[in-house]
Point group: D3
Chain length 62, copies 6
């Protein structure tokens, strides 16, 4: 702990995930003062048909 | 926000998801009075072997 | 299952929660065809200082 | 309720999931005193490239 | 990882939480074969007015 | 979306939360290329008696 969950539309590259994991961890350590090793992140990738805003699926356009 | 997560067994059609997204959003707006555009929904689809009730996997029957 | 989690800024009345629980459940049953009794909902109430959009806390205004 | 979510790296067998569902349910019933049928579990399987500790993806080694 | 989240109605004693944390961890280690130290658990306590089944709040009776 | 949930032991100041919200948002925008306004963060504060690692509650020491 801290435990971070990032929900995001699928399709990011592993380089994007690698950079995001590093930079989000640094952002938390900087502000909270916990050990770097204590930060755990999981990424939940979602299909556009499984996300909606304003009652409309992302796969139907926004 | 409001942010809604719906966990459901996989296998719904996009029409079911579209209707659910619209109707759940309307249900929240009606009761909470927030703007429609503020409601975000994500759907987490689960395999039957990844859900259990009473200690028994759904894939083993209920 | 379906399991629904609704994250919302704290401060809703019990009447709002009661109405939301009923109407969200109906919205899911209508679209998915599951038994009403199968739908479980939990509401996570959040303080405005624990929610941010665009990098800015809700408690700092939006 | 209780509702249990288990996030785990993908690749467990169905026998492991079956045993985990049964034993985790028993562990909760023993300590909380709820009916066995009230315990629901869902398992979220994650790819190693979607999990990080200490700012480093599991798929890059730990 | 594994990361376990347990949602439960508020009001458990610390002895119940302590026992649940130990026994759930053992149940996972037994079935998955991970190190004990790798298992993290968080408990989300919910008020009865924030949980519903079948469209009815727990605080209104079940 | 992206939607970020940060689970953390309670007791952070609002300045820490404000900094964390800003820096985590920047870290995601930098790597994913989404609009800043699309990033939503919620912080779940947990009591030490509601978190365990290795089967032991944080409130019992680690």
């Amino acid at each position: 702990m801290p435990l971070v969950t990032i929900k995001i539309i699928e399709g990011r590259t592993i380089e994007q995930k690698r950079g995001m994991a590093k930079d989000v961890t640094d952002a938390i350590v900087k502000n909270v003062g916990c050990p770097t090793a204590a930060v755990q992140i999981d990424i939940i990738e979602l299909k556009a048909e499984n996300v909606a805003q304003g009652g409309k699926l992302f796969s139907d356009g926004q």
